[in-house]
């Protein structure tokens, strides 16, 4: 029994480690942004920019998220996307790259429809390190997103700076992100 005990303990530890890994669902709570990096300041959005429609939803792992909590401390890029749209996934990936190049100064939230049965698989396949929310038609329509993909840039404080129906490439998005950051 004394000989078996270390083996049992090792197995138990291994199982705990496995369980820990399983908890980190791609697009879930673990992918919510951390604190804003020190020294980052933000520019004011254009005065004419309209207020961004706030919404609450669940991430793909069931974690509640509220959009205004995200844009309270930094600008947010919203990508309305779908698991059945290959082009949307390319856009989502490209936008994530542009956001990542800003080292945490900008947040990214993917938004899939609540009737998208493969939303979890989509987030898992892309594994962008950014949260993915599941939202109903009301949220989509509040951003005039009639079809994926639509990209919307929301300033810190919640003003829609610009929207791109049909999406935008990361390279084209980059200057718009930089306009909102004053380092």
């Amino acid at each position: 029994m004394t000989r078996i005990l270390p083996l049992v303990l090792a197995l138990a530890l291994a199982c705990t480690a496995c369980a820990g890994e399983d908890e980190d669902v791609a697009g879930g709570a673990a992918d919510l942004p951390g604190p804003v990096p020190e020294g980052v300041e933000y520019a004011d959005p254009p005065a004419s920019a309209p207020a961004a429609p706030d919404f609450s939803a669940e991430l793909v792992d069931g974690t509640p998220v509220t959009a205004s909590d995200l844009w309270a401390d930094r600008p947010v890029v919203l990508v309305f996307t779908a698991s059945f749209c290959d082009r949307c996934a390319e856009i989502h990936r490209d936008v994530a790259r542009a956001v990542d190049e800003r080292d945490g100064a900008i947040a990214l939230l993917g938004v899939v429809g609540d009737d998208d049965e493969d939303a979890g698989e989509y987030a898992d396949d892309l594994d962008l390190g950014h949260p993915v929310a599941v939202a109903g038609e009301r949220v989509w329509l509040s951003y005039a997103a009639r079809e994926p993909s639509l990209v919307a840039l929301v300033s810190r404080g919640g003003k829609v700076v610009r929207g791109w129906p049909n999406g935008i490439e990361g390279e084209q998005l980059a200057p718009h992100l930089d306009d909102l950051i004053e380092r």
């Binding site: 779908a82 059945f84 749209c85 290959d86 082009r87 009639r146 079809e147 994926p148 129906p165 049909n166």
Partner: protein, 141 residues
């Protein structure tokens, strides 16, 4: 060598015969989703509201007049086409329809009915399959 020729020929004839019995002609269908969404022409698309249930992976079935399913499958991704080519939109982005192209093997029947979720069925006549042009079916909102 000469002796082997006859069985080989017979085999080829048999294979050709099997192909003919395989379930009828391949029908080409253009499924038009008239959502008039603003897009660039040629981009990948899915049905925009109110056709959001029509997208790549949506299951479809084709029934004959007796209601028997004669073919089924999943829709491919669509491509955006100009909703009204008679208009000069003066822009890269303009109202488009989303067109999905299907190739389906159909057994010979006088009439068919394409059935999609949350949509009115689309009926078409077998005579349309005789044309070189694809059968065009336009969804109704």
């Amino acid at each position: 060598m000469r002796r082997a020729g006859a069985p080989l020929l017979a085999g080829l004839v048999l294979l050709a015969g099997c192909g003919g019995d395989g379930g009828g002609d391949v029908a080409r269908i253009r499924l038009v989703v008239p959502d008039n969404n603003i897009r660039e022409e040629g981009v990948e698309c899915a049905g925009a509201r109110p056709f959001r249930q029509i997208h790549r992976g949506t299951p479809y079935s084709i029934l004959d007049a007796d209601g028997e399913v004669v073919a089924d499958g999943e829709l491919p991704a669509g491509r955006a086409e100009n909703a009204d080519p008679s208009v000069d939109w003066e822009s890269d982005r303009f109202p488009t329809v989303c067109v999905m192209e299907l190739e389906v093997e159909l057994p010979e029947r006088p009439r068919y009915r394409l059935v999609l979720p949350e949509s009115a069925p689309l009926e078409f006549d077998a005579a349309l399959l005789e044309s070189d042009a694809p059968v065009q079916l336009v969804l109704r909102g």
